[in-house]
Symmetry: C2
């Protein structure tokens, strides 16, 4: 049974937040005043729901707090912006215990510290059902303007950062056997503790030829299709060039799945998908990007090539929770 009232719970939660100190006006009033380095702000909100995005048997509460922050930071970052602060809305099931609350706070705090982001507000409500956490992140642009989904142009080269399919395979391993998953630290971390590409996004925000960007949260194909729809263009993707970690290859063998299908549709990698004019692409791979295809004029059309030949699109292009 939870014996503390809302205000004590909030104080308890804040006691674990070691990120950049809250603004003095933060936790004592219902709203906070945040000073900005410019008069533009980048805003986003995203949620994690127990039983939908995580379960207690495969994620610790610390993981949940950490990831809830990072999925929002990733969206800020994918606009070519850097995070400043977050607001946290917690929905706590009846009987949710203090220790678990502190673990969430620790995860939130670790994530905020690692991206130099403060906590400027929040709210706690009783949940009607499972635990849920909703975060709103506030950031500012790194460059002069945001990098949108709508800017891709025919002829742009398509790049991705890091490795794809890692998170989805990490989750599949965890669901099968947590003992087996232990051997695949890279994949499990990709699922539990995503690292948004802040430095890369900042570097890209200063390159004029970067036309469009998105973070790969719903799955490569689904996120690519967002860019195609908003930019009214198409794409050709060479499947073999999709960056897949060696642990992903091994895990796919064990799980009996196709690592390239995981890379195309898995989602939750929080890597960047970037469209860059060819004349600006020289040396771009030194930033940690890999070329996987090219933007075409054929609106909303994705052509997948495998060994040079077109293959059918997978039926499921990414994560759906309805």
């Amino acid at each position: 049974m939870m014996m503390l009232d809302e205000f004590s719970l909030i104080r308890l939660f804040l006691s674990e937040i070691r990120a950049k100190p809250c603004l003095p006006l933060g936790p004592s009033d219902d709203a906070c005043v945040l000073g900005l380095p410019s008069n533009e702000v980048v805003l986003t909100t995203d949620s994690l729901v127990e039983g939908v995005h995580f379960t207690r048997d495969i994620c610790s509460f610390e993981d949940v707090g950490y990831k809830a922050v990072m999925v929002n930071i990733s969206d800020i970052s994918a606009m070519g912006a850097r995070p400043l602060s977050i607001l946290i809305s917690l929905f706590l099931p009846e009987g949710f215990d203090k220790k678990a609350l502190l673990e969430i706070a620790r995860g939130v705090s670790m994530a905020c510290e690692s991206v130099d982001c403060s906590v400027c507000g929040g709210n706690m409500s009783r949940a009607n059902g499972g635990l849920a956490i909703s975060i709103t992140a506030v950031g500012v642009l790194c460059g002069d303007k945001p990098i949108l989904r709508s800017g891709a142009k025919p002829g742009d080269l398509i790049y991705v950062s890091g490795y794809l399919g890692s998170s989805a395979l990490g989750l599949k391993l965890l669901l099968r056997s947590s003992n087996e998953a232990m051997r695949f630290g890279f994949l499990v971390s990709a699922f539990k503790r995503p690292s948004p590409r802040l430095a890369l996004s900042e570097a890209l925000s200063k390159i004029e030829g970067v036309h469009a960007m998105i973070d790969i949260s719903d799955g490569f194909l689904q996120d690519l299709s967002h860019i195609l729809r908003q930019s009214r263009v198409g794409a050709v993707i060479e499947c073999e060039t999709l960056p897949v970690h060696e642990q992903a290859l091994e895990a796919s063998r064990i799980l009996g799945v196709d690592p390239f299908l995981e890379a195309l549709t898995g989602g939750e990698d929080y890597e960047l998908l970037v469209c860059i004019a060819p004349s600006f692409a020289q040396g771009i791979e030194t930033l940690g990007l890999k070329k996987v295809g090219v933007i075409t004029e054929r609106e909303n059309q994705i052509v997948l090539l495998r060994e040079g030949k077109p293959i059918a699109l997978p039926e499921r292009t990414g994560f759906r929770h309805f």
Copy 2:
């Protein structure tokens, strides 16, 4: 069964939002860029949860959308700020239907229109349990500085706007009989469709002698105690001066409750509680404020007077949902 995917649901939801048009960068990217009239921003977040803050039998989905916006706008307003935009996080139970989603959107839209506020972002997740809605509101200060809870000084006069206890009595009537409640439109509206005091807050933000302010969401005594704790002062309240609507008097007789106890502890009135230096208080009642007490030096001590004599504090000082 809900047959639409997340993106179709979001488009459907946005089709009902007739508030100030979203910024062009809003709904198509994961984050939005919001231009501000200054480089300071006021932020707050609050949630409504089915079974905790509302139930479907006494509130329409339109009411829920409307109120979720207004409780946040009220927090912005109580800082001496005006709202600019909101982000909406929706948690939809499995099988939640399109018609209900549109009703929520209509309520959100009506509330935003009435306070001239845009919708700049949002997110939809499947709920694990009942419906929930979490909103983050963004605003800017009306005056040079925010009005905090921490500024009250001994000798300040305590004022409240509107009527107290209305919302709590409206809820009690609704819980007993919706037919009976129909006669008490003022009380039912206070519960279902709160109207934050934006114009009043803006006027107060320009008066130097306004030392502290809070909106009455948790109950007059509980919200007053927040000011007392943050300001390290006490208060004397004259119960008879608490503004109580004539419908509240009549409803209290029918319900067999004490209207002044409802005024002290009911909560959710979203009226303002303001502490003003006496030298600035002349004519302040013309703004729609009523004097109910005075700030004292006795830290955290509330003295309640009834017919000039101190009475005991009620055991429950306001709303608690844990």
